[in-house]
Symmetry: C2
Subunit: 243 residues, 2 copies
């Protein structure tokens, strides 16, 4: 794990790093010492580790909860090289949709393919970050919606260190089988008028989670329009289960 730079602002220390070929960023409270809960964040499709939605949430997890937060670029995103196989599949899928195929199953197949790389990557990032003195082996939470849900469900299912997860904007096609292996508390976000994930698919993924404590929050609006008050709820959810 190589740290390439670090900056601080408004009480948050931000450190870019790379682990093998994976570019990442770690946020911790300024002057943090000793173990603390850690949130792993998964970004959305076409986004990256420092996308505005990731950054805004990460800052609040750090400043209001004292947590550490880590996010890495998904293959083919952010500071990672273009991935020829993924690009080829994306191009093929576009053609198949234009030829009349349904988008949902194609996205699901693609996310399952990417998850086979990201699950081991994220687990090795977790190993490395928990070695740091200012993070340590505290409880771990996961936050990810959209692509971050499609990749997050298999990650949370595979990783026993994750004790609570906020997921959503994803459908059962992609990950119902993995969801059935998740038993930790989950807060699950559905956008009632989601133009990308059919409502039934989102509800079916929530239904598939094996967690005894799971709570569905559905709000009007399109895929990208999660209301601001849900972040307040996310903070309380993680505080309740990790702090």
């Amino acid at each position: 794990m190589r740290f390439s730079s670090g900056t601080s602002s408004d009480g948050v220390r931000e450190q870019l790093f790379s682990l093998d070929e994976i570019p990442g960023v770690l946020w911790t409270p300024d002057g943090a010492a000793g173990p603390r809960p850690l949130i792993v964040m998964g970004h959305g499709g076409g986004q990256h580790k420092k996308a505005p939605g990731i950054l805004a949430r990460a800052r609040r997890f750090v400043t209001e909860c004292g947590f550490a937060v880590v996010a890495v670029d998904v293959p083919g995103h952010g500071d990672r090289p273009k991935d020829e196989e993924y690009d080829r599949i994306a191009t093929e899928n576009q053609a198949r949709v234009q030829a009349g195929e349904e988008l949902g199953p194609l996205i699901a197949g693609f996310q399952a393919l990417v998850a086979r790389r990201t699950v081991p990557e994220w687990r090795s990032v977790l190993d490395a970050v928990q070695e740091l003195e200012q993070v340590g082996a505290g409880p771990v939470g996961y936050w990810g919606v959209s692509l971050g849900c499609g990749l997050g469900v298999p990650f949370v299912a595979a990783e026993p260190r994750v004790r609570a997860a906020v997921l959503g904007l994803g459908g059962a096609l992609a990950s119902a089988e993995d969801a059935a292996r998740i038993t930790v508390p989950v807060e699950f976000l559905v956008q009632w008028d989601d133009e990308r994930v059919p409502r039934d698919q989102g509800l079916a993924l929530f239904d598939a989670l094996a967690s005894a404590e799971k709570t569905l929050h559905a709000n009007p609006g399109k895929h990208g329009e999660i209301p601001a008050f849900e972040l307040d709820s996310t903070l309380r959810f993680f505080s309740r289960h990790l702090a």
Copy 2:
């Protein structure tokens, strides 16, 4: 409006009253003076104005938010006389269910009948309570699930003083038309394994609400098993919209 008795405990003043034939109870902060937000609460079927679920929530609205809270007995419930018409319908409905009819439409029809009495009753209670110096004409919220939702939806639709409502455990059969006239913010509770309200019916009632801000909270468990953390959310919801 005649007040028959008053007691205080742990910072909450409780006053029983009757208005015409309606027995009710008002809770306010001890020593309250001047206007404040008021929550109208509707109890569940077979329950009454001081049922444990009403009482526990009312106390927290008073002590944590400084609100006033009012609840009255629904006709045929609590301190009200038996209602021969309702009893006859209930007996008939039991027979019809045993003869193979679906329960849902029968409950819906019954709740619509009761609502024709409770909506004007609750509005006159609101008039009277807002005349009191320690309540005044502040913003009004409504809380009611199950029967309290079936009766609450037409009440909230009819009463412009209500600015925010927590509803749930109710289905679209009973009140979708009234729901389509509700435009205030709503927090709507669904129990994912509700044995009395089919899941689709609950989701359809949420869907029918015309509110631009509405949020669905669904949790695993049966009709009576709303998790405790939802009350924390209810308090924040009312604080956000009424305080």
